[in-house]
């Protein structure tokens, strides 16, 4: 039986077993590959998406348990129309290999939605589940602070 999902504002009918994690629905069925597979055990944050605005590890949410509207990295901005947070990432030249950055941005976007002026300690708390093996943390932190400023201007 097909499951209905709303992803980035668009309705999808997905014909996969109930227990398939949202990550693999997005990547292999819907074709939204911006959300990355890193560990499969919620230890790296590369698969972070929003469900009703909340940052979740999509590798841990079964298809049948998706409780609301899904937003992925593709849903917050595009190369021709960057979201303010993505522009902050560009301004600070954050990414190196870039593989973790979709998840970093989705986690930071959820933080900023909840807390428009995060302190360094707030950033530590919110971002520590998101691993970056290239070690981009100093620029990630700067970009989050900068994005916070930009979002307040809007």
């Amino acid at each position: 039986m097909a499951t209905a999902l709303k992803i980035n504002g668009k309705q999808h009918q997905v014909d996969l077993p109930d227990d398939v994690p949202l990550l693999w629905v997005l990547r292999d069925e819907v074709g939204l590959t911006g959300t990355k597979f890193g560990c499969g055990v919620a230890a790296c944050g590369a698969c972070t998406v929003h469900i009703d605005g909340e940052a979740v590890r999509s590798c841990q949410v079964a298809l049948s348990d998706v409780w609301g509207d899904v937003t992925t990295i593709e849903g917050i901005g595009s190369p021709d129309s960057l979201a303010a947070i993505q522009q902050a990432w560009v301004d600070h030249q954050v990414a190196q290999c870039g593989y973790c950055q979709s998840g970093q941005i989705m986690q930071a976007a959820a933080l900023l939605a909840e807390n428009p002026s995060p302190t360094n300690a707030d950033i530590d708390d919110a971002m520590q589940g998101n691993l970056c093996r290239c070690g981009t943390y100093p620029r990630l932190r700067a970009a989050i602070h900068d994005a916070a400023g930009k979002l307040k201007e809007v």
Binding site: W24, T33, A95, C97, Y99, N130
Partner: protein, 746 residues
């Protein structure tokens, strides 16, 4: 630059028309032009394999793996600087696997000199030997060589293309080329009329390429200045394509399990439970493992995990202790890689104080964020393969052998790499994906490893032991006698890549050990290769990754034995030996406000490692917060000579440091029953936002020879942290990871 270097560069550009005088060994091969891999279609002109101009504009080729180090942008800038095109108006592609894209710098690194004391003669000899890279078709990204390799050749490529386009315009306009200017992808006529390069491409193709002098650095617009990375927008919008993101019509998804007792056989398997699982389309016997092809990666993984496999034993001691006992046995044999033996270390100078120490570091996984994967389609007489990789020509060769095809029948597409760190210079993921795809001819199949499969089937950074003896007198080091034992990555890799057993001394084993720029009169550094079959490979900074820790921890111990400040102790020995290294130390001293004294609850450590031609000094500060130790700050100074993109160099420096600190704090692969005991990030953690230090980087440019950027930030991080912990706690870190000894913040 000497004559040899000039001829090589010219030969690279103008192929068989170049000057040939038998000057360089292998010149015959070098002057035989590599087949142009771009095969331009009608209406296109391939000026050389790095520049393609057609009706759609200018396309540059950066045939080096973009694994985060920014090579795509800086490589393109090298060409654009001379070609006079705007970086935001051109396309940059990686291009196919091709012999023409050989790495000339990598092979030059094999020379048995220390590096920092290189003379111009040796430098040119290095370039001359670089031709071997082409003979062997070594299209490799590694050894922090990309900029050394591309710096002269890519600017020549751009300049030659520009002048040839001007010649074509001059012929058309009936003027002299010297009356023409170029800017932003156009030739500009004396009257101001502009002709787009794309409009001149066909005419230019009929001309002999023009050789030309390179511009003076004072004229540069791109080089030496920070450029926005060309891959940044794609990477912040989820649109950059990594290997795991390749999607082809009708594609299937596979998951794989190989023997976790690495190198062991597969005795048999029972797949009855897996056969009826949802989504499963085919179960594949790989001989030494199994794979499941399904309509979804996760379903494929569930099924492959449900296969009951009878694995044969590993060809090495099954427990970590047995493995290290075998490494220690290598000390009993004569050393086979002694690259430094100055003065006389046989006896301690009279009146000097002797100290000894033994150090040990573990095996390490690369743990790239993107697990190993590749996508292949096999048609019976061709294979097309997509993956992030550091060695396209080697992958092509391996895939061809796997499918029993000629290399020409194999096409390699190199995507972005979700981390490389040396792991993607291996060929296993391409071979496995090929075998899986061969089970379903005509259908593209993407084979993705689980994180557990990736972590437990690595070519690990070798575990290593060092036995150090030194002597200090009058506040100075007068003797260092170091012995090192570990497996040789080089010998194993040679056998893996070529099928022939590797042998002889291994410079890579002792790099960072024998070639450190200290003026110590009695100085011998020896390597003992341990004979073990644990799979080992090139891990960011390779031998330097353990030797930096050994050498710089021991320097710290000697400084304390001498009653000296550890930074001043080093500086004094370095000043006369290598000024750029001393300059880095002086820079971090100044940046960190180093006084040699720290308040209660704060510890600082320093280390400097010369690797890949670049000295890097680091000061690390740790703080005790209610009994938990946190890495608070880091200061880095590096000197690679000319820094082509300073902000990108900074990113590589602090990134390299974070990679090293991650390993120093938490990284350890141990073995039980022949299997790696670490499965996933909870067992093999790394620095995270809250555990990473604040960092300040200074890029110096006094070095006479261009050094690397991607790896030299890693080696000094581990000893600098260990030395800081000693400063804080009085306990010396003689083995890694540090989490086993200190209460570090996690």
């Amino acid at each position: 630059m000497g004559k040899v270097g000039k001829i090589l560069r010219r030969t690279f550009l103008i192929g068989s028309a170049a000057i040939v005088g038998g000057v360089a060994f292998g010149a015959y091969y070098v002057t035989r032009p590599a087949a142009n891999p771009l095969q331009p279609g009608e209406g296109e002109a391939a000026l050389n394999p790095f520049v393609l101009i057609d009706q759609n504009g200018v396309t540059l080729f950066a045939p080096r793996a973009e694994m985060g180090q920014g090579v795509k942008t800086t490589w393109a800038a090298l060409i654009a600087e001379e070609l006079d095109v705007d970086l935001d108006q051109i396309t940059v592609l990686h291009g196919p696997a091709a012999a023409a894209y050989y790495n000339s710098a990598l092979v030059g690194e094999g020379l048995p000199n220390k590096g920092y004391d290189i003379s111009n003669f040796q430098h040119n000899l290095g370039e001359a030997l670089g031709v071997l890279g082409k003979v062997l078709s070594l299209q490799v990204t590694g050894g922090s060589t990309s900029m050394k390799d591309g710096f002269e050749r890519m600017r020549h490529a751009g300049a030659s293309a520009r002048e040839t386009l001007k010649r074509a315009a001059a012929d058309r306009l009936g003027v002299d080329p010297s009356d023409l200017q170029t800017a932003s992808g156009h030739v500009i006529a004396p009257n101001g009329d502009k002709i787009a390069y794309s409009d001149l491409a066909v005419e230019a193709a009929g001309l002999e390429p023009v050789d030309v002098h390179l511009r003076d650095p004072s004229e540069w617009r791109y080089l030496g200045r920070t450029q926005p990375r060309l891959d940044m927008t794609g990477k912040v919008t989820g649109t950059a394509e990594f290997g795991v993101d390749v999607r082809l019509p009708g594609m299937k998804f596979a998951s794989v399990r190989m023997n976790p007792k690495l190198g062991g056989v597969m005795n048999g398997f029972d797949d009855s439970a897996a056969q009826s699982m949802p989504g499963v389309e085919k179960i594949v016997d790989l001989g030494t493992g199994v794979a499941v092809i399904a309509n979804n990666t996760w379903l494929a993984n569930q099924a492959v995990e449900a296969i009951d496999v009878d694995w044969g034993d590993a060809p090495y001691p099954p427990e970590t202790d047995g493995i290290f006992a075998k490494i220690a046995e290598a000390f009993d044999d004569a050393p086979n890689s002694t690259m430094r033996d100055d003065g006389d270390v046989s006896m301690t100078p009279e009146g000097a104080t002797e100290i000894t120490a033994e150090y040990q570091v573990p095996y390490l996984a690369h743990a790239t964020m993107e697990p190993m994967n590749a996508t292949a389609v096999y048609t019976g007489n061709t294979v097309e393969l997509w993956c992030g990789n550091q060695a396209p020509t080697l992958i092509q060769f391996r895939v061809a052998n796997t499918a029993n095809l000629d290399t020409e029948a194999v096409q390699i597409h190199t995507t972005y790499l979700g981390g490389g760190f040396g792991r993607r210079g291996e060929l296993d993921f391409g071979e496995i994906a090929t075998k899986v795809a061969m089970a379903m001819p005509g259908t593209p199949v993407q084979t993705t490893w689980s994180r557990e499969e990736d972590m437990r089937h690595d070519y690990y950074r070798p575990g290593a032991i060092a036995r150090m003896r030194g002597a200090v007198q009058d506040g100075k080091a007068v003797l260092i006698d170091g012995k090192l034992a570990a497996q040789s990555c080089t010998q194993q890799a040679v056998e893996r890549y070529s099928g022939f057993p590797g042998g002889g001394p291994d410079k890579v084993l002792v790099e960072g050990f024998f070639n450190q720029p200290y003026a110590v009169p009695n100085y011998r550094m020896s390597g003992h290769i341990a004979d073990l079959a644990v799979p080992v490979g090139f891990w960011r900074s390779v031998g330097n990754s353990h030797n930096g820790f050994f050498h710089e921890t021991f320097m710290d111990e000697m400084a304390h034995a001498a009653g000296r400040d550890p930074l001043d102790f080093r500086l004094e020995l370095m000043k006369t030996e290598h000024a750029p290294s001393a300059g880095c130390l002086e820079a971090v001293k100044q940046m960190s406000g180093w006084t040699g004294k720290t308040p209660e609850g704060v510890g600082r450590g320093v280390a400097v490692t010369y690797s890949f031609g670049t000295p890097v000094a680091q000061v690390i500060e740790v703080v005790d917060e209610d009994g938990t130790i946190r890495i608070n700050k880091a200061w880095i100074a590096c000197d690679m000579g000319l820094a082509l993109d300073p902000d990108n160099v900074k990113a590589q420096m602090f990134g390299g440091m974070m990679y090293g600190l991650s390993a120093a704090c938490y990284g350890e692969i141990t073995f039980s029953d022949g299997e790696a005991e670490q499965f996933n990030f909870p067992d093999y953690d790394a620095l995270r936002m809250h555990t990473a230090p604040q960092v300040e980087v200074r890029v110096l440019e006094t070095n006479r020879h261009m050094g690397g950027a991607g790896e030299p930030g890693t080696p000094p991080s581990m000893p600098a942290l260990g030395n800081a912990l000693f400063d804080l706690t009085g306990e010396r870190a003689r083995s890694l990871p540090l989490i086993n000894q200190f209460n570090l913040l996690v």
